[in-house]
């Protein structure tokens, strides 16, 4: 790895950190804007001002905003994002119980969807205009147009209600066999994959086709290269940057998608936790979850950026 690449990568890392700081400010100040806070809500209208003040002091809400921000931010960095306003538990513990489950859902989904999507995208670019391309195009338009809760409900209707193969609700208490794993993950993963594969395949196709219209592809054809070789050896290496980008964008979509899917299947992950936090207006919990999701997004984008930099031939020595 040469110094230009190293410099660029370090630059990206720096930008990522700055972005994360800005995000944390946006998140914190947005969630602290409204005067009525959870304390008031928790104690009800009848609470004495003293009781409210005491509880506020307990949560540190009586300090000025920027101090609270600093306190909160340093807590985040040290892995101590605060105490739930609703049940008084450590937010960190609540999340760390759920995190592995969400991560494994995301991991399984990515493992399934990325290879499938890349294959579909590259194939339909190779056979652009063919029947295969047209049908996949129709399918992918359909999949990106349909809300994921519809796909989820249809999946439940077919597999749980009509066929009775899988249970509608996930119980990940303990997974012992492959069959159990299948029944736990199958429907959430299937739902997430539908949209994800469609999005990624479309973007991959576009990236490859973009390369196919460049003069060096014409040149390769005029050297007698067959379409297969042209795509795999010429177009694909140059499409790596855009494709990785597409994958990262889609996977970050996954972060939002899990919110819906976890809720529908009652999957005990971070997203369900966060939705519950929203409903009960448990701000420390919501803030921490949001930062977690944003961190996930930034890491994905960072990886994509670095891949694009490393795959850029102009930076090679």
């Amino acid at each position: 790895m040469n110094s230009t690449i190293a410099r660029l990568v370090i630059g990206r890392l720096g930008i990522g950190v700055i972005t994360l700081v800005i995000v944390s400010m946006v998140v914190f100040f947005l969630t602290s804007l409204l005067p009525g806070d959870a304390v008031q809500e928790q104690l009800g209208q009848a609470a004495t001002p003293e009781a409210v003040a005491a509880l506020r002091a307990h949560f540190g809400l009586d300090q000025p905003l920027w101090q609270r921000y600093l306190h909160w931010a340093s807590g985040l960095i040290t892995g101590n994002p605060g105490i739930s306003m609703v049940n008084g538990l450590q937010v960190g513990d609540m999340i760390s119980n759920r995190l592995p489950k969400s991560l494994s859902l995301a991991a399984v989904t990515s493992l399934v969807s990325v290879p499938v999507a890349l294959t579909i995208g590259i194939l339909s670019a190779m056979f652009r205009g063919s029947a295969f391309d047209r049908y996949t195009n129709m399918l992918t338009v359909f999949a990106v147009s349909v809300p994921e809760f519809l796909i989820a409900t249809i999946a439940v209707l077919i597999f749980a209600v009509k066929l009775g193969w899988l249970s509608a609700l996930s119980r990940t208490v303990d997974v012992h066999s492959f069959g159990e794993m299948l029944s736990v993950y199958a429907m959430p993963v299937m739902t997430l994959c539908c949209v994800l594969i469609a999005q990624m395949a479309r973007m991959t196709r576009a990236a490859v086709i973009d390369q196919l219209s460049s003069p060096y592809v014409e040149m390769a054809l005029l050297k007698g290269a067959r379409p297969m070789r042209v795509v795999l050896r010429h177009a694909l290496p140059n499409a790596v940057g855009p494709i990785v980008n597409a994958v990262a964008l889609s996977l970050s979509y996954l972060l939002g998608g899990v919110v819906i899917v976890e809720s529908i299947f009652n999957y005990p992950g971070v997203a369900t936790l966060m939705v519950n936090g929203v409903v009960t207006r448990d701000m420390p919990l919501v803030q921490a979850c949001v930062m977690l999701f944003c961190l996930g997004f930034l890491v994905l984008v960072l990886i994509a950026d670095i891949c694009a930099i490393v795959s850029n031939p102009r930076l090679r020595k």
Partner: protein, 306 residues
């Protein structure tokens, strides 16, 4: 003389009818130059036509839907829950025995109207900011871009959740929330387009003529961005519809007694087990709307790469 010419003769088995080049051209599409005059358009393909019909239909319904609804929207008109399709209730009845068609038609202005407003807000502010950033460059550009990048780093659904968590859910909030959530995307595209157009010689020509910033932005640059921006508008509209429906589906969107299509799905989710039209109809309505827009955009061929 080299002999490889003669070898080629023996190889020539004259099979196909010389149409090799045609097949190859089809997948190697050197697309038309951007500046080509687009006076004569090809007829839209069947998909595009279907898309146009769907979009047109739903736009009309968003306006006149509530007026032509056959039943009272909140009236418990039937005593069968999750009633089937019948001549009296063309889309069946819901979990309380209300007419689904009427509820669907009353939901149209919410689903479509909120999304349209939010998308328009997002696009307009995104385009204005993008133009300002592209035209001024320097630290203004850097500042706006950095903040927009940070906004993009908050996944839209997550952003929606924080907004609802901090401010509670209401129609104005949903509009503002969706607009803010999708503005960075509009901004990115608009800025990229504007930066491209700004480097064109005709813009330089206007600058060396001594034209002011407003003239350059509105007369020289904007007209050349319109088509891709409109395409982007359509795409973003789809995302906004999906986001708002998802929020309603979670119970965090439009609040009762009002109901958009997402809320209708949520209300009637219990009917799923018996395959009630009450839950399928609103879901299908959402899907046809978003698919119509997608098909329409695809047929116009200007799908911007995200």
């Amino acid at each position: 003389m080299k002999s490889n010419i003669n070898q080629s003769g023996s190889q020539n088995m004259a099979t196909s009818g010389g149409s090799g080049q045609v097949a190859e051209n089809e997948w190697l599409d050197n697309s038309v130059p951007v500046t080509a005059p687009t006076k004569h358009r090809r007829l839209p393909n069947p998909g595009g036509f279907l898309g146009f019909i769907l979009v047109f239909f739903w736009l009309v319904m968003a306006v006149i839907g509530p007026m032509i609804a056959p039943h009272d929207v909140n009236g418990l008109v039937s005593d069968s829950f999750f009633g089937p399709i019948s001549s009296q209730y063309p889309l069946g009845t819901d979990y309380l025995g209300r007419d689904i068609l009427s509820r669907l038609l009353h939901g149209a202005p919410y689903t479509i109207g909120i999304a349209l407003l939010a998308t328009s807000l997002a696009c307009m502010s995104g385009v204005v900011l993008g133009l300002v950033a592209a035209a001024s460059g320097g630290w203004i550009d850097a500042l706006i871009s950095r903040v927009q990048d940070a906004m993009i780093a908050i996944p839209n659904k997550i952003f929606a959740l924080i907004m609802v968590a901090s401010f509670g859910s209401s129609v104005p909030l949903l509009i503002v929330m969706a607009a803010i959530a999708y503005m960075p995307g509009c901004y990115r595209i608009a800025r990229a387009l504007a930066v491209n157009v700004m480097t064109m010689d005709y813009v330089l020509a206007a600058r060396t003529r001594g034209e002011g910033l407003a003239y350059i932005i509105f007369i020289e640059v904007l007209p050349n961005m319109l088509r891709p921006v409109l395409t982007d508008f359509g795409l973003r509209f789809v995302y906004v519809v999906l986001l708002l429906s998802a929020m309603s589906f979670l119970g965090l969107g439009v609040q009762p007694p009002d109901a958009d299509w997402g809320s209708l799905v949520r209300e009637n989710i219990q009917g799923l087990g018996i395959g009630a039209p009450a839950v399928l109809a609103p879901a299908v309505a959402i899907a046809t709307l978003t698919m119509g827009v997608n098909l329409l955009i695809d047929s116009l061929g200007g799908r911007a790469k995200r």
